[in-house]
Every structure is written in C-alpha cells, then in structure tokens.
Subunit: 331 residues, 2 copies
C-alpha cells in the first residue's frame, strides 16, 4: 500500500482509503481512492502506520522527519493535528477562511454532517487581526510547543440598569476628575456613577463618567470641555473609550474602571441599588477596530479574566462598536 | 488660630504646632512654629479641623474646595495622603527623589526615626520609568479615584538547578523550533530543556533553549544560525530574551515559557528531576532597560501573578540585566 506525494496532495488507492479514511477518518475520497493533506500523511508517518511516502517529483522516499523538514507541511499544523487526534477527535483540513481544521464531535467523522469546532492553528508569534476572530477556535502553539485553545465569539452585551437621573447638577472639573460637591443620591446609588470621597461626601466622577453625563444634560458642565481634558491626558484613546462607555450605558450595562484588572472596564449588567451590588461579569478592553492581537497578550487577558471569574470581552471601536469574546477552551 | 498660605508653604503659630504637629503628626517645626505642606493643610481643611487658610498673596480665605481647585496642591497627593491617614498612618511630604511621602510605622510619627514606606503617589495615567523603581511603594490613583499600592523591589534571583550535560548532541533546526531526534535523557529530565513530542519521543527545543545550549556546545548546531532564525521571527526582542534566558540559567534558575501567563518566562529555582517538579515561583517579563510602564499594564501583570501565586519580576535588559519585583501591598 503506497502513498505518493504529488505537489501538495498525498494520494493512495482503495486499500489505503478503506484503512485510513473509512476506518479512521483521514483524508477524503476521490473516485473511490484516497486523498490526504500532507498534515494527515505526516500524522500517519509519525504513528508508524505508514513508513514512507514517495515523492512523485524526486522519487525520494520521505519519512516523518523528512516530511516535517520539507516545505509541504508546517510544524504548527502537525502539532495541532496531532494534539486533537490525541484528544480523540477526527478532523479535516479545510480551505475555509480563518480556519485550518474542521473538528468533528467525538465519535463523529468526515462522513457525518456535524462540526464541533472550526480551528485556526497559529504560532504564538503570529499577529491576529481582530476582524478575523469571532467564529473560530484558536489553537496557539507556544514557543515550547505546548498548545492552548481559545474560543472566540461575538456576544450580545446587554443589561437592565436604568436609573432616572436629574438634569443640570452643578459639578466642577478638577485636573483629572470631576467633583459633584452636593450629589443627588440617585447618581451613585442607582446609576452607580462615581465614587464618594467619604460616605455622603462629595462624589468623584471619572472624566468618562462626567463626559457621558454631561452629554445627557445630567451635569451642568459643557461636555466638550471634559472631552478636551480627556484628550489632553489620554489622547485619542479617550474618544474610543468614551464611545464604548456610552455604548455600554446605552445597553443598560454599567461600566466601572477595570484598572485593577489591567482592563478598561469591568461591567455590571443588573444594578438595582449599590448596596446590593454583586460581582461584575465582564472585563472589557477597548481596542481600535483594526487592532492585531499578539497571542501572548490575548493569553494574559483571558487567563486573568478566568482567574477572577469574569468573561473577557474586547470592544472593537470603529464606525460602530463590535464585541468580541475570548475564553479558554479544553476541547 | 490662623493658618497662612505663603507661596507653597502654609504657616501657623505655636498653638497650631501643638495641636497639629505635636499631637497629630502634621507638618514640621521651624523656630517653634508650624510649617505645613499644602497637602497637609488640605487634609485639615477637609476634616474641618481648620475652616479656611488665608492666602498671603491675595488675602483670600481658601476652604477645602478652593484649595483643591488651586494649583498649589494636586488631587492625587490629596487623595493618597487622605487614604494613608484613613488607614491610621502619620506621614510627611518629602523631597527625596522618586518619593512623595514618608510613611511612619503605625503608632510612630515624624518625631521618631523610623520609616515604614517611601510612597510615590501617581495617577494611573502617569508613565513610570523602570529605572526609577525598586525602592518605593507606588500609590496609584485610578481614574475613579480608588488607590492601589504596589511595592517595588530589587530581588536577588538565584537557584540550584545544575545538570551535567553532554556535548555535541545532533539536532535539527525546523521553522520555529529545534528537534533533537534522539535526545539524551538528562537534557529534559535533569535540565528541564525542551518538551518531548511524546514520552521518550523526539525532544522539541524552543529557539531560546536551543540557542543557549548551542552556545555552550551542548548541541551540534551553530548557535548563530539559531539566533538568526530567532531574530527573523521576533526581531531584537529575541536577543533581549536570550540574554535574560542565559542570565537565569547562569543563576541556576530554569526558565520555561510564560506564554500561558502572558509573560516571557515562568521559572523553577530547584529542579532535581522533572518527575518531582513543583510549581514555578516567578513570572518574568523581559523589557528594555529604558522601558516606561503604564500603571495599567503593571496592575495586570501583578494581579495575574498574585492570582497564580507567583512573584512578578521584570528583567530589565541593558548592558547588564537588572531585576525588578512588583507586588501588591496593603499598607
């Protein structure tokens, strides 16, 4: 039973098809014969199911080592393919955009019509355009060849916090925050705006909170002046963060600073009164829509969010705001 | 009892000295009278111990709000000073470089000769030059006016892992890693180099591990070729990381990838055999010596390290490698 490498396809006959495809989910059937992607052939070679593959071009016989050293297959693909096989999955290489493998549910294979995961196999050194994420699972191979899986999604971010706020509340812009010297209780207690200096004392608003409130007419301060100050201390990042802050409030979700978690916001979906405040649910990081992630940064954010039992969500700020969730997955 | 603001000093007489300095640790004594920094006067105003301070220049009487809105005192300093007083400390403003306040041990004051913490008060938006850290505690005021304390230090990083390695081991450079097809057991088991593809299978070395081993003559591969490949995939960052990798190995500490923690390395100080591997102790992030931290990034690293019970250490790579530890502190 001979397998032949022809360009970037490995071919075998009927017997190979029965043994590897029909019984074990490798490759695809073409006219009753077997076609394998090089990564599938590499796995058969690694396992010793096949000893060599004949290179139709050179006539050479390639073993696992020779195939891995050649250009027809990437180490990354081989490592991820092997890892998923070791976890008991059948999977097939795919030409879909942003995906490298279709993984079937355990116990199913390419002859069924069900897909458990679309997997994108990358090195930890590959920059990842945020736009291409949201449907696939990332299999990130780190520099020491361990593999971590990250599930990406496009969540619907919504809450129920909606307090009736007064208008024209006097406030004062200091260097880097706004003080409301005599704050209406509803502002903090129901809207969870600001931070009292002491119980019942003046309310300190962040520039983001103040700008959003001023735009709604709640504060008797010109919003533009606050935004100007925000840009002075933070540059254009302030505009992006304000857009996301307002989008979250529009969705009845309360954003508070995520500074202690290294994020832009932590969020509370359902606040009735600050005295019954639960844990925040999301960590939100604001990014420009054309951002490219370093997988290492992604790993850091997801690990931290997981550790504090929150969900990591990226707000991609462009013409509109898009939401991208990333979480750990053990396939 | 009148206090007078004169330029950037607030002065009071003997009675003020007795009441505020001798009894409660505010200010310093000059010729039997009291001198306060504006931040101390602001705190007395906020508490209502003093109603107003007379501005010697304009003749105006300034209350807390007026003093806070003026240029003589920063909100950040006022918030940090208040927080430390609320925690039961006496503290004094200082002119020391990289510090804003000297905090005395609880129960002690400026008349004693003991200092608990040197505190640097900053906004979360202030960039922090790595060179200036190592002796002070950072009090970081976030955009919503909460304060977090970060202790910085200059740790001695050392371990006891020291395996006798063979020389001239054959190895093969693939795209982004090095394979040792027939690895001597000591390499992985005692030195904790690489990651076996399967138990007893070929050993996968990262480019860093391979470059360090090649430089020592352990691998029969030209080190320069591996370094060249590292630079191709990572740029000059590879050289910095290799320098830190080698410095850690020279100190008998084993660096393994910190990818899953978003760091460069996690480290093991005392490995006898991989089968008795304990938890790693440090997370190491490699930075150029002239790096300036965003406090938010610092918060993220320190939070994550704390969550996984490791110590966060930054390796500042310049002519030499300097080690900087940062950890959470509750004063």
């Amino acid at each position: 039973m001979e397998l032949t490498l022809d360009g970037s396809t490995v071919r075998g006959g009927r017997q190979a098809r029965e043994r590897f495809h029909d019984a074990r989910g490798y490759g695809r059937v073409v006219d009753g014969d077997l076609e394998l992607a090089p990564v599938e052939a590499a796995h058969l070679l690694y396992r010793g199911d096949v000893e060599t593959v004949r290179d139709a071009g050179s006539g050479d016989r390639l073993d696992f080592r020779a195939l891995l050293s050649s250009d027809v297959v990437s180490e990354i693909d081989v490592l991820v393919y092997k890892d998923l096989r070791d976890r008991g999955f059948y999977l097939s290489p795919t030409d879909e955009p942003n995906a490298d493998f279709l993984v079937y549910p355990r116990g199913k294979g390419p002859w069924d019509d069900e897909i458990a995961h679309r997997i994108r196999a990358i090195s930890e050194r590959t920059a990842l355009s945020a736009r291409t994420l949201g449907e696939t699972v990332l299999a990130v191979v780190d520099e020491e060849s361990s593999i971590a899986y990250l599930e990406t999604g496009r969540p619907d971010v919504r809450g129920t916090t909606d307090a009736d706020l007064p208008r024209g509340v006097p406030a004062e812009l200091l260097d880097d925050r706004v003080f409301v010297w005599e704050p209406p209780a509803v502002l903090y207690e129901r809207g969870f705006y600001g931070q009292p200096l002491d119980d019942g004392g003046p309310l300190q608003l962040s520039l983001l909170e103040a700008a959003a409130l001023a735009r709604r007419g709640v504060l008797a301060l010109p919003a533009d002046e606050i935004v100007e100050r925000g840009r002075t201390v933070e540059g254009e990042r302030f505009d992006r963060r304000l857009a996301v802050y307002r989008a979250l409030r529009d969705r009845n979700v309360v954003p508070k600073t995520g500074y202690k978690f290294g994020a832009d916001f932590r969020t509370y979906a359902d606040i009735e009164h600050v005295e019954e405040l639960g844990h925040s649910e999301l960590l939100v990081r604001v990014l420009p829509a054309d951002h490219a992630f370093a997988p290492r940064d992604l790993a850091l954010d997801v690990r931290l969010a997981h550790g504090v039992r929150k969900r990591m969500v990226f707000a991609l700020a462009g013409e509109t705001i898009e939401w991208l969730s990333v979480s750990r997955l053990t396939p």
